[in-house]
């Protein structure tokens, strides 16, 4: 075939593939906004559900998701960052550290419903936390741990080696070097990973299904040992379990969840680009 024509065809196919990737995102967003925007109001965002969840607001679900995400981050970020520091700065490249890295990669591939079952077995039953915000947060925390560790490792590894050499050559200890010459420069990257993990924790349903999520609660949770409603599960409930919920309420709930996750991702992108601009080496 004429090389110019084959080139044109190749370009056309590649362009089509790219557009096909964008298409679902645009369509999903358009449908959700079109069908759900009419439900969004002050009352919808900041009041309790009424009349069997067919009216009123989704405040308990929004708050529940915020609590769960916050809990997951409080648990997973310190643990994940410390593990990443150990892996990058201290461990030498031996069989043990390779095994740990392999385990982390695999942890990222575990289906989220398996995390849910794990959380049920460990936190709800074995530790006796019951179905509670604590159990749900810990389960979500374990789920986002690989994201946090991987992005923290990448952030630490992207700090130029000579920062460490210079710091050590000036008589700083290894820990001082990590604390003052490496971590400050890796922080934006670590934060980016944290926000990505946050977005993932906010959107997942399966891990909270058995560990925390309540079908309907007449009052807001009072402590970390209370059950809570959460946006993804609430969406599932009003879409499939309760008949007669107005369409715009369902799509409105989806819109709120989507907006929350998009805002978190946007924050990650802004942070990352600011970091790149500030980079001077």
């Amino acid at each position: 075939m004429d090389p110019r024509r084959s080139q044109k065809i190749a370009f056309a196919v590649l362009l089509l593939a790219t557009l096909l990737v964008v298409l679902p995102v645009v369509v999903i967003l358009a449908i959700i906004v079109a069908k759900g925007a009419s439900a969004i109001s002050w009352d919808f965002l900041f009041s309790m559900p009424r009349e069997g969840m067919s009216a009123g607001g989704i405040l308990p679900a929004i708050l529940g998701t915020l609590y769960l995400v916050l809990g997951a981050v409080i648990f997973a970020v310190p643990l994940g960052v410390m593990a990443a520091i150990y892996l990058v700065e201290y461990s030498s490249d031996n069989r043990m550290s390779r095994l740990v890295k392999l385990a982390i990669v695999n942890l990222a591939g575990v289906p989220s419903v398996v995390y849910g079952l794990f959380g049920l077995g460990i936190f709800v039953t074995f530790f006796g936390f019951g179905a509670s915000i604590l159990s749900g947060s810990l389960t979500l925390g374990i789920m986002i741990l690989p994201v946090i560790i991987t992005s923290s490792r990448e952030a630490l590894e992207s700090v130029p080696k000579h920062f460490r050499t210079v710091s050590l050559s000036l008589g700083a200890s290894r820990w001082q070097t990590i604390r003052h010459s490496v971590l400050p420069h890796a922080l934006p990257g670590i934060l980016t990973g944290m926000i990505l993990g946050l977005g993932r924790a906010a959107g997942e349903t399966a891990p909270i299904l058995f560990t925390v999520a309540a079908f309907y609660l007449p009052r807001l949770p009072q402590s970390v040992f209370d059950q809570s409603m959460a946006l993804p599960y609430h969406l599932y409930v009003i879409s499939t379990q309760v008949p007669g919920i107005a369409e715009n309420v369902r799509y409105g709930t989806a819109l709120v969840l989507l907006t929350l996750v998009l805002l978190l991702n946007l924050a990650a992108i802004v942070l990352r680009s600011r970091f790149r601009r500030k980079k001077k080496w």
Binding site: D93, H162, F163, V166, S167, S169, L170, G171, A172
Partner: protein, 253 residues
């Protein structure tokens, strides 16, 4: 046994990287307040030798050292903490490597790591060490600006000031002018000649002429072995080994 004139005594010292022998059976003395220069072609072990003196060699996971190095008669491995050694024996690398912080913070980095908080002491250290490295007049009005904004030559003098702030005994220079223009190079060389009155200077250089200009004693390294060490003037006029003569006159290397 210990001669007070000897700052460093290197005895039967060897370095291996895995199975590659980088330095073999090195024996030499470096006197206090001299400029000791090390010359030799690439891969002759010059930088390995320099990094052995402040144990930066330890950062290479595959490296193994044997033999001993004494600083003022004390074994630098068995006799002192590595942090103490590195404060006493500062190094300026081939490339100017300021940290991505302000000029001021670069200079006081070592002091801060020692726990010095007193601002007056830090200020004094900054002025003293920047004057000693002949950078003060150029940067005194912009100490809080990023060190990365300085020119290459200025950065290299900043790196010198950075080690001077910790009041070291010995200054190691690893081809400090290899990335600089002739004028910046001349300034660094002038600085070295003044610094040696107060400090012991060990200068590794690719530039044979530089060794001849500033060195008092010179060692010639070749493929991990020290071929000879002598007064710089003597080495450049009547080298004991023909290989030294060949290298100096540019027949190889």
């Amino acid at each position: 046994m210990v001669n007070p004139q000897h700052k460093f005594s290197v005895r039967n010292f060897n370095v291996h990287y895995d199975h590659f022998s980088a330095l073999r059976n090195l024996n030499l003395e470096i006197n206090a307040n001299e400029i000791f220069t090390v010359i030799g072609p690439a891969n002759s072990g010059k930088t390995t030798f320099l990094n052995s003196l402040n144990r930066l060699i330890d950062l290479v996971p595959a490296s193994r050292c044997s033999g001993e190095i004494l600083l003022d008669g004390i074994d630098i491995r068995a006799g002192m903490e590595v942090e103490t050694l590195r404060r006493k024996v500062g190094i300026v690398f081939a490339l100017p490597l300021p940290l991505p912080i302000s000029i001021f913070e670069n200079v006081v980095f070592g002091l801060r790591m020692q726990g010095v908080r007193d601002l007056r002491r830090l200020n004094q250290a900054v002025e003293r060490s920047l004057r000693e490295s002949y950078l003060w007049d150029e940067v005194k009005d912009r100490l809080s600006t990023p060190a990365m904004n300085l020119s290459g030559g200025q950065q290299q003098r900043l790196c010198t000031a950075r080690i001077l702030a910790g009041q070291p005994d010995v200054l190691l220079f690893d081809e400090p002018t290899s990335g600089l223009d002739p004028i910046s190079t001349a300034r660094i060389e002038e600085t070295l000649l003044i610094l040696k009155k107060k400090y012991t200077v060990v200068l590794v250089t690719n530039n044979v002429a530089q060794a001849a200009r500033v060195g008092e004693r010179t060692a010639f390294f070749l493929m991990g072995e020290m071929i000879e060490v002598s007064e710089t003037g003597k080495m450049f006029t009547t080298p004991a080994d023909t290989r030294t003569g060949d290298y100096i006159t540019g027949k190889f290397g």
